[in-house]
Symmetry: C2
Subunit: 314 residues, 2 copies
């Protein structure tokens, strides 16, 4: 039963084993997590999202380095790449990171690629982040690419969401249309040395101005950075810390945590119900139902109701 | 019981009512779909995806017009905007479309915005497309924004997937990284009159060259269009038709249909199991479990197992 203690003591091999178990659905993983969970600290989840090419990864690397230089003992990065279900996109990103941050025992990095299962990536990411926080990591950067539903779902996991743009990535209409702005706690125009940076800042100001926020609510700052040189990273991290304080003092952190608990419970219910059900189906029954749908003898909903009905009678 | 007949006869109000019922989970919707399903024709699902700003919507409008001028009696567009769970992003797009295509009784347009439920958008979109095909629509354009997991899932629904890029949207590395390329049956560089169009075509050629395809398999053509003027739309639609022929002659259409039947059945199982379970939970039981997770008395997986265990004993 030493693994939970080893994880909490900062043993990275123990943590890697825990994550593998959780990933494979090995019950020992859930056992260790159950041991760790009640003593979980107040880890701060920072979501970082934005289009490809905005320089998110470089910015996250700089932010991690800043945290390590300013008192954080353990910082983690979970890099989620939902766009690459087939190839090893996440692995490429990983190698680039490794060069920068590897060798620092206080930093843990993990890439997650989709395996093609709907909703499964967000759930696995959430479980990993829970394990990291339970394992004593103080700040977890959750980095995602793009502005799709998967990214929004993943951003909802975060306490503080940073949306990164870069000059010339799109015009005002695009900025308004992207619903991702509405989940931003902090907005960053990275590559601020490129032409068009001021225009991008203004477009964001304009878009934000359209959003209605209740009085006294957090007003998302719009910052500029040059991740390559580190310029603006200090101001960004001060804004991140300010938002963390705001979450605590306003009570909003608690309501986000409650919403998160609810959506996590739903995800686990969905996962467990489906897994359990499929395990108990007789051999070939699922395939026969697929065939019925394929031959248009039944709609997918009918076929599902049929399978469930049979189980209920059995 | 006339609604199924009305839908098949091309009554748009009847179709709109069917879609509303399906959306609301009204059992009458599933009833009508069950009536229609066995006589479903060979509707062709054309997925169109690409980054914001690539001009997808304009291109789809032109493609719809082309189909109508070339013998299609009923064409539909399902525009999916997974990036806007909070605001009415999809509605904005809708208004722009309306101006172009409304008034043509052979065209049916429907926008879908996320309601925030994980995986739910892909499932609802699939159900709508099934209803449209069962209702006699010959070609359904399924348009999505971006390259996230939701888009990939939605692209998997399509028979033919068109990936639209535009000059200057990113460099080569980005094109390679985006796993979305791997699901493309046809690649389009739109806005081909802008500088950088040839470079974008070359970057796509390069990226495609890296992908391994079995001998005799479909080789995705790379086309250029100027959607604003309609240039290249004819060649695009000829490629779409060629791909449709390939699907039929190679047998790949059938294997895609079988894979689709399987993933649709899984999605319906997941949906029905979760819905049924939550309905049978005693009042306040779910909220109590959320509270236990929130207070770290239980992990989400523990709390889910607990709820499921209680139901099994009851």
């Amino acid at each position: 039963m030493g693994l939970a203690e080893d994880v909490r003591a900062g043993d990275r091999l123990a943590l890697a084993r825990l994550l593998s178990w959780l990933e494979e659905g090995d019950p020992r993983g859930e056992g260790v997590l159950t041991e760790l969970y009640p003593q979980t600290g107040l880890g701060h989840r920072v979501g970082v999202t934005g289009p490809p090419g905005s320089g998110k990864s470089t910015l996250v690397n700089q932010a991690v380095r800043w945290c390590r230089q300013h008192g954080s003992e353990r910082v983690a990065v979970v890099a989620v790449d939902p766009s690459s279900p087939f190839s090893g996109g996440a692995i490429l990103g990983d190698r680039i990171r490794m060069r920068d941050l590897s060798g620092d025992p206080g930093v843990f990095i993990r890439s997650m690629a989709s395996r093609g299962e709907l909703g499964g990536l967000a759930r696995r990411t959430a479980v990993f982040v829970e394990a990291l926080i339970a394992g004593g990591y103080e700040r977890i950067f959750i980095e995602t690419v793009g502005a799709g539903q998967a990214e929004v779902d993943i951003a909802r996991m975060a306490d503080t969401t940073v949306v990164v743009e870069a000059p010339g990535m799109g015009d005002e209409i695009q900025a308004i249309k992207a619903g991702i702005l509405e989940i931003a706690d902090i907005l960053v125009v990275n590559k601020a040395d490129l032409p068009g940076a001021q225009a991008a800042v203004q477009a964001l100001h304009y878009s934000l101005g359209l959003a209605k926020r209740p009085a006294g609510a957090w007003s998302p700052p719009i910052l500029t950075t040059i991740a390559e040189t580190g310029e603006g990273v200090e101001a960004l991290m001060e804004a991140v810390n300010r938002h963390q304080d705001y979450l605590l003092s306003s009570g909003e952190g608690e309501s986000r945590e409650l919403a998160r608990a609810s959506s996590r419970l739903e995800a686990e219910l969905r996962h467990t119900l489906t897994e359990t059900f499929q395990r108990t189906l007789a051999d070939g029954r699922f395939e026969a139902a697929v065939q019925a749908v394929f031959e248009r003898r039944m709609t997918p909903a009918q076929a599902a109701a049929d399978l469930i009905g049979e189980r209920a009678e059995a």
